[in-house]
């Protein structure tokens, strides 16, 4: 499908048209690579500089005396609002929120996809359509009712704790966020698995049924062992989305100790007391970005596939 690349036979004089073409193409590609890399590069070098060097030096210069200090400070000492204990606590908050939310939504999505393709019933398209549309709503349109419900559940949790000594997670911001992310992630996970299982040979499922395998046996023995790629795609997609979420996080855990990483980072950067420590801010941003970047580096192929599957439906 490459057109410009085909040898241009009408090469004239010294440098052929083809060579010029190639130089222009590579030049443009390199220029854009710079454009995409620049902010990350600046963020990275800044996070290893001293404040002195930042104020007097060039943004693009490599650190003269690389120091790990800003990273340590961001991790363990920097102020988020009024508490100055670094972002490590919020990092773990995000982990505690992401892991269960990803696992639950992925598993439910797998089951839903299995039912919607291999155990079809009348109206399955409508059910899927309704679940799919939920992926696209602006979350502002559910933000307020959810806040109200979570507030009531929290009050109920207090009552419960007074009565039984245990609140069953009601009112815990991390539990709330897990719940919210499962609810609003279901559409995507269902979409992923439905499209994947759609292509899975139904004959295999039918044959197993004839042999007397039950609904769950078929799921466990036939579907799951063949679902590895889509599991990876879904887990990565959900992980990235939930880790990066800011709207729900700021609405339902915007203050206090349960803040996820994104909210904490925004607070660190916007804390206006004292001197703004840009190197620490950049280190904090890098720490917030590392988990998803790591996933991207390790499993980029699956990451892209997930994005594509989320984009190209049907």
């Amino acid at each position: 499908m490459s057109v410009i690349a085909t040898p241009a036979r009408q090469s004239t004089g010294g440098i052929s048209a083809r060579t010029v073409n190639r130089i222009v193409i590579y030049g443009l590609l390199a220029l854009f690579a710079l454009f995409y890399l620049m902010p990350l590069f600046v963020m990275l070098v800044t996070s290893f500089k001293t404040m002195d060097e930042i104020q007097n030096g060039n943004m693009l210069a490599l650190p003269q005396a690389p120091t790990f200090e800003p990273w340590l400070k961001a991790w363990g000492e920097t102020c988020v609002g009024l508490t100055c204990a670094g972002i490590k606590g919020y990092f773990w908050n995000s982990i505690k929120m992401v892991v269960p939310a990803v696992l639950i939504s992925t598993l439910l999505g797998a089951l839903n996809g299995y039912v919607l393709t291999k155990w079809r019933f009348r109206g399955h398209t409508l059910v899927f359509g309704l679940m799919l549309f939920a992926c696209f709503i602006p979350f502002q349109s559910v933000l307020l009712p959810m806040a109200t419900i979570l507030g009531s559940l929290g009050r109920f949790g207090v009552t419960l704790r007074n009565a039984t000594g245990f609140s069953f997670g009601l009112g815990n911001p991390t539990v709330n966020l897990v719940f919210v992310h499962v609810v609003y992630g279901l559409g995507f996970t269902t979409l992923f698995f439905r499209n994947y299982y759609e292509a899975f040979p139904t004959e295999l499922v039918k044959a197993a049924q004839v042999d007397g395998a039950s609904f769950f046996q078929i799921f466990r023995r036939i579907m799951l062992p063949n679902s590895m790629p889509i599991f990876v795609v879904t887990v990565i997609y959900q992980f990235t989305n939930i880790w990066n979420d800011f709207l729900f996080a700021s609405a339902y855990a915007g203050t206090g100790d349960a803040m996820p990483m994104t909210v904490a980072l925004n607070n660190v950067v916007n804390t206006s007391t004292g001197v703004v420590e840009y190197n620490v801010n950049m280190a904090a941003a890098m720490i917030a970005a590392l988990p998803t970047l790591l996933v991207y580096v390790v499993a980029g192929r699956y990451f892209v596939r997930g994005l594509m599957a989320g984009a190209v439906k049907g």
């Binding site: 690349a5 995409y36 600046v42 089951l111 800011f246 709207l247 991207y296 049907g314």
Partner: protein, 318 residues
């Protein structure tokens, strides 16, 4: 599915032993039972909540929800604000920004994505290295993107300062602090984040085009430019549509980027409707107005998404 049901019904035990019949009926209903919680959750927490928000938008709710209907007052206020351009209301600013941001973001991402995809499709050595570089911003959170660009565009620290040091002292770039231009910095950061992904979509589309068509056109003497304009780009139409849908819904949902990059801009000059909704609902205690703005956002997305989903789900009656 139907064959299975008949099979169960043909088994001799069926009906003879009530327990077995119960079990087989349970087996029959099991798929629906498994799907039911997810479906119920969607109905309640998505559609129920949407109705709840719509209801709130017709009340007089301020700091707390109030449930006495008071008519479309919130919408009337938004309607008035829509035309109140002197001085511009926050809502006016938000929707004008949405227009600017939405148009530029979608248009530049599509153009740049297609351009990069075509360049990358010329048998490039090192494509495997370039592609991930173009695409990685998509893995970052909008907050991180915002923090990075805020630094990069800061007149005192970033690009301007750097160019001054290099001797270009007349260079001036303070859009991020300028209330008339701050929304364009959101466009820059937004394009930086999403254009690589659009590139990947177009690249996948280009790779799917039959090489024979191209060869035939070349033999007929089509120039490269003609080839792309007349053959390749029309063939990519479905990708344009998908990419448009993705970008449009990302644009309408954009919230975090404005917060992290501009903190709303000087005097709220970088607000999008999503920021308007959040501020009015949770900070200015105008819950009814906030809800009404959320409903308007939802209706805009619905107008774009529903026809698309309908045609996508319709196309394959299997």
């Amino acid at each position: 599915m139907t064959t299975v049901t008949t099979q169960i019904k043909l088994t001799p035990e069926h009906g003879a032993r009530p327990i077995a019949s119960m079990r087989s009926r349970l087996q029959d209903a099991l798929p629906k039972i498994v799907l039911a919680p997810s479906f119920a959750i969607t109905i309640v927490f998505v559609y129920g909540f949407i109705l709840w928000t719509v209801y709130l938008s017709f009340t007089n709710s301020k700091t707390f929800p109030s449930y006495a209907l008071t008519g479309p007052r919130a919408y009337q206020r938004l309607w008035r604000w829509t035309f109140e351009s002197d001085p511009p209301s926050s809502w006016y600013t938000s929707i004008i920004n949405m227009g600017i941001f939405g148009f530029l973001y979608i248009f530049i991402c599509l153009a740049l994505g297609l351009f990069l995809a075509i360049l990358l499709d010329q048998k490039i050595r090192g494509e495997g290295m370039l592609r991930p570089i173009y695409l990685y911003p998509m893995a970052l959170s909008f907050i991180v993107t915002g923090v990075a660009w805020k630094w990069f565009l800061d007149p005192g620290l970033g690009l301007e300062q750097t160019l001054h040091q290099w001797g270009w002292t007349s260079f001036h770039f303070d859009w991020i602090k300028n209330k008339d231009f701050v929304i364009y910095t959101v466009v820059i950061a937004g394009v930086w984040q999403a254009s690589g992904f659009i590139m990947a979509m177009f690249l996948a589309g280009l790779r799917g085009i039959d090489g024979e068509i191209m060869k035939a056109a070349q033999i007929d003497g089509a120039t490269t430019f003609q080839l792309y304009r007349r053959i390749v780009i029309p063939l990519l139409r479905p990708i344009f549509l998908s990419a448009f849908i993705v970008l449009a819904h990302l644009a309408i949902k954009s919230y975090d980027l404005v917060v992290a990059l501009t903190s709303g801009g000087p005097g709220g000059s970088a607000w999008l409707p999503s920021n308007f909704m959040y501020e009015y609902t949770f900070k200015r205690n105008e819950m009814a107005v906030g809800s009404a703005s959320a409903v308007i956002m939802l209706m805009t997305i619905t107008a774009i998404i529903v026809p698309y989903l309908y045609s996508e789900l319709r196309e394959k009656p299997r």
